[in-house]
């Protein structure tokens, strides 16, 4: 039997509410960036929210996540509180990493969030190690590894898939294929553009999923996790998705048509799920408004939390470069 989400009113509210939280958080981040409250690189996830939310819904507390620099959505969906996340974007001491990582390096021990990683492909070997630890200890957790299709060209992708498959490790690889690695369209960089086929060549069961459909992603993730927990070894999902905004805040988007962006926006995962849920009677328009207002208030509170945060004292500059002990 394949696992299916129970799509009742509560769950529909949860899915939509989570996507709205991510969307509103990031739209505020963009504003804060122009106000220079957030600096450095900022990679927004707008348009891709269904992937984070669908995957996170399928996970248990014992599972761990390895992510990329485009990880705010993953972090929020996983349950990292919005205040410390925003404070990390500011670089404040009350941020998730006391501000040391910033937007691209969110870590959270409590939710087993093993980091945003700013080296394309750099997180995949870590996820293999987390899966290996789980297997050696006989634990029930799965390591979920999220990455963009750009990472598929890196050697670390191939090494990691081979190793995870060879050792039958509990790892769920999730490729969020948004069709562009910075300005490089996938056809310009890959000889085989169906990414899931590459995973299959390592004898990893792989599926292509509509990444603009939160329920489809959740169903696919539940199935993959069920197979992993049943001992089938690593699984692979290719989520077909699209980022509505620029790669980072420095990108003039000369490499794609406005019309293409507009076409994809018609498949906006938030509007699409909201329309479906109201049409099917699961949610009322007022419910959606309430969710939006709640998310907006949460973002306000997160900004206030970040604004109120202190800066790390310069005396602590080198703290944690070497650790005194392994955290318990």
């Amino acid at each position: 039997m394949t696992a299916k989400p129970h799509l009742d009113r509560e769950h529909a509210r949860h899915l939509l509410g989570q996507m709205l939280r991510i969307r509103l958080f990031e739209e505020r981040c963009a504003e804060l960036y122009t106000q220079q409250k957030i600096r450095g690189f900022l990679h927004l996830y707008v348009g891709e929210e269904a992937n984070a939310v669908g995957i996170a819904c399928a996970l248990s507390a014992a599972d761990s996540i390895v992510s990329t620099y485009r990880e705010h959505g993953h972090a929020l969906a996983r349950g990292i509180a919005m205040g410390p996340l925003m404070a990390e974007m500011y670089g404040k001491a009350n941020g998730t990493s006391a501000g040391r990582g910033g937007s691209m390096h969110v870590f959270d021990r409590a939710t087993r969030f093993y980091g945003g990683n700013a080296i394309v492909g750099g997180g995949l070997p870590l996820a293999v190690g987390l899966g290996l630890a789980e297997k050696l200890r006989g634990g029930a957790g799965v390591a979920v590894c999220l990455f963009g299709e750009g990472a598929v060209a890196e050697g670390e992708f191939h090494e990691s898939l081979n190793l995870a498959a060879l050792w039958k490790l509990p790892v769920l690889f999730v490729c969020e294929n948004n069709l562009y690695a910075m300005g490089s369209a996938i056809e310009r960089t890959e000889s085989e553009t169906a990414i899931f086929r590459k995973a299959e060549s390592y004898r990893v069961e792989a599926h292509q999923v509509d990444g603009m459909d939160v329920v489809a992603v959740e169903v696919a993730a539940l199935g993959a996790l069920e197979r992993i927990r049943g001992g089938a070894g690593p699984q692979f999902l290719e989520c077909m998705t699209y980022r509505f905004r620029a790669h980072s805040m420095f990108d003039a988007q000369l490499y794609r048509d406005r019309a293409e962006v507009e076409r994809w926006k018609e498949r906006d995962p938030i509007r699409r799920f909201g329309d479906w849920a109201t049409a099917s009677g699961l949610l009322h328009v007022a419910d959606i408004e309430a969710l939006r207002e709640a998310a907006s208030a949460e973002v306000d509170a997160a900004v206030a939390f970040a604004e109120a945060g202190a800066w790390e004292p310069v005396e602590d500059l080198c703290r944690h470069t070497l650790m005194d002990a392994v955290p318990a």
């Binding site: 761990s64 390895v66 941020g95 998730t96 990493s97 006391a98 501000g99 040391r100 990582g101 390096h105 870590f107 959270d108 021990r109 093993y114 980091g115 990683n117 080296i119 750099g122 995949l124 070997p125 870590l126 996820a127 293999v128 190690g129 987390l130 899966g131 290996l132 630890a133 789980e134 050696l136 200890r137 390591a143 050697g155 670390e156 090494e159 990691s160 081979n162 190793l163 060879l166 050792w167 080198c318 703290r319 944690h320 470069t321 070497l322 650790m323 005194d324 002990a325 392994v326 955290p327």
Partner: protein, 329 residues
Amino acid sequence: MTTTYREAIKQAIRDALNRDERVFLMGEDVGRYGGCYAVTKGLLEEFGEARIRDTPLSESAFVGAGIGAAMAGLRPIVEIMTVNFSLLALDQIVNNAATIPHMSGGQFAVPLVIRMATGAGRQLAAQHSHSLEGWYAHIPGLKIVAPATLEDARGMLWSALEDPNPVLIFEQVNLYNMEAELAADAGAVPLCGAAVRRAGRDLSLVTYGASLHKSLVAAQLLATEGIEAEVIDLRSLRPLDDATIMASLARTRRILVVDEGWRSGGISAEICARVAEQGFYDLDAPPARLCGVEVPIPYPKHLEDAAIPQVETIHAAALELVRPSGRST
């Protein structure tokens, strides 16, 4: 009892596997083959496939997997065949292992041990003879050790596994067959702290790894000529034990750094800079260096020998420092 450097490391790994169930070993050909330098021979039979893990030729993935497993609470020992191949895992070592504890605000430690062979001297030509340990010593967040004795080979692995930080252990290839006495109950050796291997008053030879043994022979030669060299074994390249170096310099007032690695930007440069910063007024002569010649290590024996410090060249450089040929004494 008399044993070898190779055997001392193997015993250290066995001890660790017996002492701590979180410890496991992985790397290319560590199991069925027994290790490319036969360090791990027999361990697969003794501890089984789960804890002695042969990996594919995927340096980046298995080093990264070691980092992930360490972050998750295990204590992996990763063997990279030689430092030359560690270049394919540089991303994981430098971008992940060295940064994550700091970048996560101390939420995650990386208690990982990476062992690898290093150095020239076996006529393996340029791509198998690098001495890049000094390079790694550039990186904050890593600890870099180079055991030159059996006690250190055995005892530093122990300490490395107890350390909450990523520790890279460099084993000079010519040391594996070295024989010496080793107490059956030899224990842990701290990761920091240089050792004075020979006391002297006329100059300090500061070195590590296989060059230590050449320096000790050179010191004996010098002694027959009435020159007493103090020989310092760094043992750790990061952190460097400045105090022991400066204390030795204060006694001898002359320093010669002997390093198989290249001179430009090497660990010898760092040591001389620290000597200039901290020991300038103790110096009776400019700090001197004898390093690997700046050339890809060549294959023929006579050229390879000429490319790295040897007893004769150490002796000559020491003599020059104490009794400069250009000046009358």
